[in-house]
């Protein structure tokens, strides 16, 4: 062992109560977000959901269902319908990764380290959410590029498109709290994924993401009306298309996002604090 000693520069301390100031808090979140980015660099496979899923889903649905829905040779019309819907779906799939990530951290013991350090415990979760939102942005960009390559047409303004993207990010971020809660409650990442799929599948397919809902039976059509994913898909679709109702689906989506956050975020933070 070398002769380096323990003498280190005195560190600036917080106030006597031990509360963590805003600037310190942001610095901690930054250091933890950097950790999450380095994890991605070390484990590039973890980006499959962001890099490949948008490509695979776009190709799959356009060529498998596109002809049936919009008529053979008329896939382009379906692409314009599909892409705003996939944007909504992307958010949900990527949000799921937060849950498995939190679960892994607890199993590995690194969370013990964080929780014995003088940092706000929530900063660990916020750093994760920040990085996941970044991943959602990347997935959205790839999705839009795929859409344009396959002939998607957009009649809405740039601001409309931006609004649609922000709306799906906001909704995706609110979903992350649900998955964090699952990640904290379940024993293994596999269990998190399994339960998440049970919730996700009906929401995704019982919606207007892939097909118009008018051909569905009445009860299912009723379900799609309240399904936040339908509303998000419709809002984005109408913003992209530059016509159709926007205010109502946007409001319903935002109401869902706020409600989900208000209910699950405090539960998740409490569970996070008390988890041993």
């Amino acid at each position: 062992m070398s002769a380096a000693t323990l003498t280190a520069p005195a560190r600036p301390t917080n106030d006597g109560e031990g509360r963590i100031g805003l600037r310190a808090n942001l610095r901690h979140i930054g250091a933890l977000a950097r950790r999450n980015l380095l994890q991605i660099k070390q484990d590039p496979e973890s980006m499959f959901d962001v890099l490949l899923m948008p490509i695979i889903f776009t190709l799959l649905f356009t060529y498998v269902f596109g002809g049936a829905i919009s008529g053979k040779g008329n896939q382009e019309a379906y692409v314009s319908y599909l892409i705003p819907g996939l944007m909504a779906m992307n958010g949900m799939n990527i949000a799921m990764a937060v849950g498995t990530g939190v679960n892994e951290d607890f199993r590995k013991g690194v969370m013990d380290r964080f929780r014995t350090m003088p940092i706000a415990r929530s900063s660990v979760l916020i750093a994760k959410i920040v990085v996941e939102i970044g991943r959602m942005v990347v997935a959205t960009v790839i999705l839009l590029i795929m859409g344009f390559l396959l002939g998607m047409s957009i009649d809405g303004s740039v601001l409309h498109v931006l609004g649609a993207v922000l709306l799906s990010l906001a909704f995706g971020a609110s979903l992350m709290w649900i998955f964090i809660l699952l990640g904290l409650a379940m024993k293994t990442p596999q269990a998190v994924q399994g339960l998440a799929m049970i919730v996700i599948m009906p929401l995704q397919f019982g919606s207007s993401i892939f097909t118009p809902t008018s051909s569905m039976p009445g009860w299912l059509e009723g379900f799609t009306k309240v399904n936040p994913l339908s509303n998000l898909a419709d809002a984005s679709r109408n913003l992209f298309g530059g016509h159709g109702a926007v205010a109502q689906p946007v409001l319903i989506t935002l109401a869902w996002a706020v409600a989900i956050t208000v209910v699950t975020a405090p539960l998740a933070v409490r569970k996070f604090r008390s988890k041993t």
């Binding site: 994890q39 380290r113 041993t276």
Partner: protein, 353 residues
């Protein structure tokens, strides 16, 4: 903020635990534990698996709320001032709490930033600690590629980044080979030389003896014995020196010579016929030297000498007159089918087995 060091210089208690209780259903992981650690010393907490050692450490590290009792560490109340406390403690557990996907350097840099060091300071500190723990060559490799010993050293380095005044080491050498174990011991001694107070849990009498100034023996969530290591060793008979004469016929004469000499503090010598050795209870290295010296002077031909430390089981037997719960614990662990995750969850929860 007044640093605790200024308050208690001169031999106060860095850790004071009173009546700590933590139950998991019917299982009493901690059942009224009292203990003190004097500033600048090492307290060894000795006990079998499931005795409550990990639960104790997790309570003192603010990871777990006790059901009853109180604890002050470095002058802070564990329950009422957790945030201040986290500034002055370090924890290294049996399971490495570093991010395995990050390199050794990135782990330490991150910890430095979380402790509010500037970027330059965090870089420098990470470099210093990597050097100190002989990890400079592996600094850029992900921790997942480290050997068990390297990971434990990285873990210790992470715990030292904030210069903690109180350090908890929860079975720091469990699962390490003897060479790495010695390295860890070396580091622990050095931390204390530099002014830290250490609470060390262990299952090994040898480790407790090598490091601790004082010992607390716990079993099933209760303190069953405590005191200076030497007192305790005297109680359990310390080490046993085993001397094998070249000629078995010399055994009685050897015992006679030792009894006659009446060396200070040396317990009675007994003959183990089956092994062909004389057993002498000793407490210190000086006594060992004296015994060997005496036998040499008297011209005995000695074929072999070794010393034997009492095992944890023997310590318990001597102190409590009972077998430890270790045997039951082992049986339970086996029944568990070696499921790592479950073991780990249970150990982390600190539930007594």
């Amino acid at each position: 903020m007044t640093r605790y060091n200024d308050l208690t210089k001169g031999g106060g208690n860095a850790v004071e635990v009173r009546g700590l209780v933590k139950h998991y259903g019917a299982t009493k992981a901690l059942d009224g534990v009292d203990l003190d650690v004097r500033e600048g010393t090492i307290l060894g907490v000795l006990g079998p698996n499931g005795a409550g050692k990990t639960t104790l450490v997790r309570v003192l590290a603010t990871l777990l709320r006790p059901d009853a009792g109180s604890a002050r560490v470095a002058g802070y109340d564990v329950l009422k001032q957790p945030r201040q406390l986290r500034r002055v403690i370090g924890l290294t557990g049996q399971y490495a709490s570093v991010d395995e996907k990050l390199s050794g350097y990135e782990n330490l840099y991150m910890i430095g930033r979380l402790l509010d060091l500037s970027r330059a300071e965090a870089r420098r500190r990470a470099g210093d600690l990597l050097e100190r723990f002989s990890l400079t060559e592996a600094a850029k490799k992900p921790a997942a590629q480290y050997s068990g010993g390297m990971r434990r050293r990285l873990d210790l380095a992470a715990s030292l980044t904030g210069q903690p005044s109180v350090l908890y080491l929860d079975e720091p050498t469990t699962g390490l080979d003897p060479r790495t174990r010695n390295e860890v011991w070396e580091e622990v001694r050095r931390m204390v030389d530099e002014g830290s107070t250490v609470l060390l849990t262990t299952q090994y009498m040898e480790e407790a003896e090598a490091l601790a100034n004082e010992l607390t023996v716990i079993d099933r969530g209760r303190v069953v014995a405590g005191g200076e290591v030497n007192e305790l060793k005297a109680k359990v008979g310390g080490r046993t020196l085993r001397i094998r004469p070249a000629d078995r016929g010399e055994l009685p004469r050897m015992v006679g010579a030792l009894a006659q000499a009446g060396l200070d503090g040396v317990g009675g010598a007994t003959i183990d016929e089956a092994e062909g050795v004389v057993n002498v209870a000793i407490i210190s290295d000086e006594q060992l030297t004296a015994v060997v010296g005496l036998l040499g002077e008297r011209g005995f031909a000695i074929a072999g000498i070794d010393t034997h430390l009492p095992s944890l089981d023997e310590v318990f037997l001597a102190i409590t007159g009972q077998k430890t719960s270790l045997a039951d614990a082992d049986a339970d662990a086996d029944a568990d089918g070696g499921a790592d995750a479950d073991d780990r969850a249970r150990e982390r929860a600190g539930a007594a087995v």
